[in-house]
């Protein structure tokens, strides 16, 4: 058992037993799931067909990934965008710090982006003496709290208003016990000043559009749009799997993402950016760069059995419907991406990380696969990760030995009949017997034989 598994089990048990936490998360999730269910039907009628179509488009994307990325690069470059390629987190950070130096940046604002979490960008910027402020309210809250996003769509869903009021009181000097409006205004006030002062705006990208050479960012607060438009320099960091062939694909993917992620028809702000300010334009950044991030994605890509995980559009639906996520919460995973999708991709993205145990921590109920808007068979990929971990002997000797013994016994009825008496004795003596079911005095098979003879 790895130290990581031990720590996961400890944290999971603690969280799972925390009824206040469970109640809180269940309330948030059931509300968002209900909204999502309603919206899927209202918006698509046949949701199954919509998600199969989206899955097909993403399948096409993966089949043509290198070509589509080059097409994106060609079109974006033609409009004056600097397109950069990062093989890993270190390269991505270096590229971004290079840009910051080139444009003599002192203050940066950043909109919500899981990719920047993945490369731990904030710490790198701060170490280089650049002040960085999160502009998404939820992200700002976790930044002030000194923690990580709890959920890939709702970074601070685990906190109550009272907890946020206490945090803002300490960090921003708001009145103790301030209401939601007062807290939002305090954040807005802080952010507006930073938007005006920042030389660099950093965003992620929900989609990269190959034919238009454009990036798309969706949000509900308007902060990402300001992040992209106000500072002198805009840098977007996106995983290479985020590319879509056509601008027209957004007609499906924007409502798909909104209804799955937040139960909305569309997110409030859907912004396309396709280059820096051009002659005659009154606003927009002077320079725009897109960093295309690999960071383990080509490892996933090279494994046909799990490649489909790269279809993910990071909507968070699989977290919301996952009874494991709802029991243990986002932090217990210990990964950037939590929930079913995190358990599926992290062992491949971080190969030396020993994250295989996350794939074991599932009942394989399949709720994630049923909810996925791009038709990823998530629970089957968890199973594939288990198969792979076994094949690579990453699981430890105990289960390997136990299942070998089990297979020996259960491949002959005679062995099973002879050994069940031993099984009953072992159970009676086992320390953890409450968890082990008590065997019936006689098996069904033995009872059947008794009756046949009577």
């Amino acid at each position: 058992m790895t130290a990581r598994l031990r720590e996961f089990r400890r944290a999971a048990d603690e969280r799972a037993a925390d009824l206040v936490h469970r109640e809180r998360i269940a309330r948030v999730m059931s509300k968002s799931n209900a909204a999502s269910e309603t919206m899927k039907v209202r918006q698509f009628g046949d949701w199954e067909r919509a998600r199969r179509l989206a899955g097909q488009i993403k399948r096409h994307v993966l089949a043509n990934l290198p070509d589509l990325l080059e097409e994106f690069e060609r079109h974006a470059t033609a409009r004056g965008v600097e397109v950069l390629w990062a093989a890993d987190a270190g390269e991505a950070r270096a590229l971004l710090l290079g840009l910051a130096r080139r444009f003599q940046i002192e203050i940066a604002v950043k909109s919500k982006s899981m990719t920047t979490e993945e490369i731990e960008l904030n710490a790198a910027l701060e170490a280089a003496g650049i002040e960085v402020l999160e502009s998404d309210l939820g992200e700002l809250i976790v930044q002030l709290a000194g923690t990580r996003p709890y959920h890939i769509v709702g970074p601070a869903i685990h906190l109550t208003r009272a907890e946020i009021a206490e945090l803002f009181h300490r960090k921003l000097g708001t009145a103790p016990g301030a209401g939601a409006e007062e807290l939002t205004l305090a954040a807005r006030d802080l952010l507006r000043r930073k938007f005006a002062a920042a030389g660099l705006g950093i965003t992620g990208a929900n989609f990269l559009l190959a034919d238009a050479g454009a990036i798309t960012v969706v949000e509900n607060e308007g902060n990402a749009r300001l992040t992209m438009a106000m500072p002198r320099v805009h840098v977007a960091i996106a995983g290479i799997e985020k590319v879509l062939p056509r601008l027209a694909d957004l007609a499906l993917f924007l409502p798909l993402l909104a209804s799955s992620g937040t139960g909305q028809q569309l997110t409030c702000y859907n912004t396309l950016a396709r280059g820096p300010r051009t002659a005659g334009e009154p606003d927009g950044p002077e320079h725009m760069a897109v960093i295309l991030l690999d960071n383990g994605r080509t490892t996933l890509y090279a494994r046909p059995a799990v490649r489909q995980a790269l279809r993910c559009i990071r909507c968070g639906a699989c977290l919301n419907v996952c009874p494991v996520y709802r029991s243990i919460g986002g932090y217990t995973y210990g990964t950037v991406y939590s929930g079913p999708i995190g358990a599926v991709i992290t062992p491949h993205l971080e190969e030396q990380g020993r994250w295989e145990h996350l794939s074991q921590a599932s009942s394989l109920c399949g709720a994630c696969s049923a909810a996925c808007p791009v038709d990823i068979d998530l629970h089957r990929l968890l199973l594939e990760n288990r198969r792979r971990a076994t094949a690579e002997r990453k699981e430890g000797w105990f289960w390997a030995a136990a299942l070998r013994a089990w297979a020996w016994v259960f491949s002959r009825r005679g062995r099973l009949d002879r050994l069940r008496g031993v099984g009953r004795l072992v159970r009676a003596a086992a320390p953890g017997r409450a968890r082990v079911p008590r065997l019936a005095p006689r098996s069904f098979a033995q009872m059947w034989s008794d009756r046949e003879q009577s």
């Binding site: 009942s363 109920c365 049923a370 990760n385 198969r387 089990w406 491949s411 059947w448």
Partner: protein, 254 residues
């Protein structure tokens, strides 16, 4: 179509821990006029190892299952999970194996108990009564692997005066998941408690479940939580309504 003989696949959990569930299914089938073929050599479908990622071991036990049911015309099983193992997962487990065709043939012949009763039109012939409210928990494998919407519920609704109730919304997993509930007992327990709480809100005292795995897990957690909830297999509730079943020696049959 006149009732004929069906083979029964008795899940290892039923064989070893809950034989009464197997007898209940057998009694219901016999009451409906079916001959029951029980193949004494059967042990397990292989799913515990399959789900743990140990496919070599899974193939060994599943291969035995293929041998046992060779030549069986129709196989009925009181578990959506074991049914899914044969019907949905054997294809993957035996892909490229010499037994691939045989596995596919068996996959096409196995049905979960409620599916079988509905397809045969036998549920409508039950003619039995089970008064009162009965909660129903649909297993994930029935729901999502076999694509059942409400088969077991429809069978239960054939019982006169039986009011079948389910919590609103997409049904959540009970937390069993085979070895998952052993390896991660804390998480699995919390999942069961969340699920049981939904039935508690409905105020049901009796619960029908279509999978012995869920029953094992839900009973353990209901007991731990001190909930006085009677959790039994769908086949047991049907058998009770028919006044048949229970294990031999308990009297009802023979």
């Amino acid at each position: 179509m006149a009732p004929s003989t069906v083979s029964v696949l008795i899940p290892c959990l039923v064989d070893q821990v809950y034989p009464e569930m197997g007898w209940a299914m057998v009694a219901v089938l016999r009451r409906l006029g079916y001959g029951v073929d029980y193949r004494r050599g059967q042990t397990c479908c292989g799913q515990p190892a399959f789900n743990a990622g140990h496919w070599g071991e899974a193939r060994r036990v599943a291969g035995h299952c293929l041998e046992v049911f060779r030549g069986a015309e129709r196989v009925v099983c009181p578990s959506g999970s074991c049914t899914a193992m044969l019907r949905e997962f054997y294809a993957e487990l035996f892909a490229g194996d010499a037994r691939e065709a045989e596995a596919a043939a068996l996959a096409g012949r196995v049905e979960e108990f409620s599916e079988f009763l509905l397809r045969e039109g036998a549920a409508g012939r039950l003619g039995a009564r089970l008064p009162g409210r009965l909660g129903f928990h649909n297993s994930c494998h029935s729901r999502r692997e076999l694509g059942q919407r409400d088969e077991s519920r429809r069978v239960l609704e054939q019982l006169e005066d039986c009011e079948v109730v389910e919590p609103a919304g997409e049904p959540d997993c009970c937390g069993f998941g085979g070895l998952f509930s052993v390896k991660f007992a804390g998480i699995a327990g919390a999942m069961a408690q969340s699920r049981l709480a939904r039935f508690h809100e409905l105020g049901v005292a009796r619960l029908a479940v279509n999978d012995p795995g869920c029953i094992l897990h839900l009973r353990q957690e209901a007991e731990r939580a001190g909930l006085g909830l009677e959790i039994r297999h769908v086949a047991e509730w049907v058998a009770e309504a028919l006044g048949v079943g229970a294990a031999p020696g308990a009297g009802a049959e023979r």
